[in-house]
């Protein structure tokens, strides 16, 4: 499905709203992970507002496409996208991380409509996405499974266990994204524990690999389209992104991985998201 100029504009507008939500939610909660939420926003927006077959009125529709946020700490981005998509009122976003809220600190499928898998412990999402993709094949259903991993997350061995298994099972209904923002909590990934060269690793593990600019809707949409046509193996889309994207003082700053903005900082951030 080619993407039109109008669509790109529409997605940009949604992404802007999502980013505002992320800032407001984390500021309100006083904790959370804005940096990695902002870096994957455009990917999530493309998926939910251009690609995925889902029905917010019927979150558990068996034919729906699935999405697993393996980097579960980016929950604010997912919640904002789900709210904008109509799974629940956007007012709920204010309750993030509060007692009795449906919006837990990390995605919890039992509490939040639209969340397909409980995550938060890194490295586990791809395995469960594999299971969903296998089930799809088994049932002869044509839904697709999308999973988003962090680049630092690739250090978890379980990711490679799962990568090997996905290729082995020829899961061409599975598309993984790597949100390649280059930063993890302790610093640049190349310094902490380099998973580079990510593309070579996935290739060696039997995956089809596509590189994109993770903030370019046309490229993201094009890559997803390409992935749909790849048969016999899973596809990984390595998306070069900017941590904290959209908020100048957060961009490429490792400190904003797991820190919420203060009220004033949030106001400043919102000014750049008009």
């Amino acid at each position: 499905m080619a993407i039109t100029k109008e669509k790109v504009e529409e997605l940009s507008e949604i992404a802007r709203r999502i980013r505002r939500h992320i800032i407001e939610m984390t500021a309100e909660a006083g904790s959370g992970h804005p940096g990695g939420s902002l870096s994957c926003t455009d990917i999530l927006v493309t998926l939910y507002f251009h690609v995925m077959k889902v029905d917010p009125k019927n979150p558990n529709w068996p034919e729906r496409d699935r999405f697993v946020l393996s980097k579960g700490h980016a929950a604010p981005a997912l919640y904002a996208v789900l709210a904008e998509k109509g799974y629940f009122p956007t007012e709920e976003l204010k309750t993030l991380r509060k007692i009795d809220s449906m919006l837990q600190g990390h995605p919890d499928m039992k509490n939040t409509p639209g969340v397909d898998m409980t995550t938060g412990s890194l490295g586990q999402g791809l395995s469960s996405a594999n299971g969903m993709a296998i089930a799809g094949k088994l049932d002869g259903k044509d839904y697709r499974v999308y999973v988003l991993l962090g680049d630092g997350e690739l250090e978890e061995g379980q990711v490679w266990e799962a990568a090997m298994a996905a290729a082995h099972y020829k899961l061409d209904n599975l598309t993984a994204f790597v949100d390649h923002n280059g930063l993890q909590i302790d610093g640049p990934i190349t310094q902490v524990m380099s998973p580079e060269i990510i593309q070579e690793k996935f290739r060696a593990f039997g995956w089809h690999v596509i590189d994109v600019d993770g903030h370019d809707f046309e490229e993201i949409a094009g890559a997803i389209e390409e992935a749909k046509n790849i048969k016999g193996r899973p596809t990984v889309i390595v998306a070069k992104t900017v941590k904290g994207k959209g908020v100048p003082y957060m961009e490429n700053q490792v400190d904003w991985h797991g820190k919420a903005p203060s009220r004033e900082q949030a106001e400043e951030a919102l000014k750049s998201l008009i």
Binding site: R97, K98, D100, H106, E156, G157, Q184, D186, V192, M193
Partner: protein
């Protein structure tokens, strides 16, 4: 008294000890700023190893270092140290009885908003089930500092359970920590409150409340859950009833350890205050403590119910 997180005390203690004991090496799994091993890393970069997000590899590597005479402190969040890497801790560290100190932070539900996947409420049960392991759960910053030192001096695997959230200071500077030796914080004769970690502060408050109702409660800090101080438990049993309190599931932790001793040695009525076998949710630490029944009032109520 100021509130200090036990992890903060860990960071300082480790940096101090690093000066003294050159064999200490520190490993972390991409969380050094949170676990506070970053303080050590800054001071001794050549003795600090960041293993990336790979806890299994973290434990295996620590074991390997220990076989070469190092004293590795391996740190990450409690949930990953004891869950993700459980088999590595068991096989590579506990069975060979290697000198690895697993210092895990962010234990319990006071980790707060991160939610169930990050709230380690089973770590004591898991670590206690492993032979050779010493399990320590300090109550405050003072005790943590001494426990870190004691762990470094002790030969063999140690699990140190620390928290993310600032806690009240219980002890003065003259406090002396001894592995395996519980501390009677307050003598009493009507009921014994046995607590560990952050629940010490709550137990002390509960005792105060109880005294207003004419109930004289004994308060005991069992900081070393394994090996457990049986003597102190038997002494506590003389009060006729016991309440245990822990920021952990009531299955397999302090409550179970005390129940095991009591049942076999001196059965008296007891109640376990803890997380009642459920996964907790996101929220502020104080809220969670209230919702999951971990406050002074909960201890007080349990104590009173035993006297009825």
């Amino acid at each position: 008294m100021p509130k200090i997180a036990t992890r903060e005390a860990y960071g300082e203690a480790l940096a101090e000890l690093g000066e003294e004991i050159k064999d200490i090496v520190v490993l972390d799994a991409d969380l050094s700023k949170s676990t506070k091993t970053s303080v050590f890393a800054k001071k001794f970069p050549e003795r600090f190893f960041n293993m990336g997000i790979a806890e299994q590899n973290l434990m295996g590597t620590a074991a390997g270092l220990a076989t070469c005479g190092k004293i590795p402190f391996a740190s990450t969040f409690a949930i990953f140290a004891t869950g993700r890497a459980f088999e590595q801790v068991r096989n590579s560290i506990c069975y060979p009885n290697l000198n690895v100190k697993i210092t895990a932070t962010h234990a319990g539900i006071t980790v707060g908003e991160d939610g169930a996947t990050h709230q380690s409420i089973e770590d004591i049960a898991l670590m206690r089930a492993l032979p050779n392991m010493t399990v320590i759960s300090p109550a405050d910053a003072v005790e943590t500092k001494q426990a870190v030192r004691a762990a470094a001096m002790l030969k063999g695997p140690v699990y140190l359970r620390l928290g993310r959230h600032p806690v009240e200071t219980i002890y003065g500077e003259n406090y002396k920590f001894e592995v395996g030796k519980a501390v009677i914080l307050k003598e009493g004769k009507d009921v014994a409150l046995i607590a560990t970690g952050v629940m010490i502060a709550e137990a002390l408050k509960a005792a105060e409340q109880l005294s207003k109702d004419g109930i004289d409660a004994m308060v005991i800090n069992i900081h070393t859950i394994k090996p457990i101080d049986e003597e102190v438990i038997l002494k506590a049993a003389e009060c006729g009833s016991i309440v245990t309190a822990e920021e952990h599931t009531i299955i397999g932790g302090l409550g179970s350890a005390v129940a095991e001793v009591l049942m076999e040695k001196k059965p008296v009525p007891m109640k376990r205050v803890g997380i009642r076998d459920v996964f907790a949710r996101s929220g502020k630490p104080e809220e969670l403590m209230r919702v999951y029944g971990l406050t002074a009032e909960d201890i007080e109520e349990a104590a009173k119910s035993l006297r009825r």
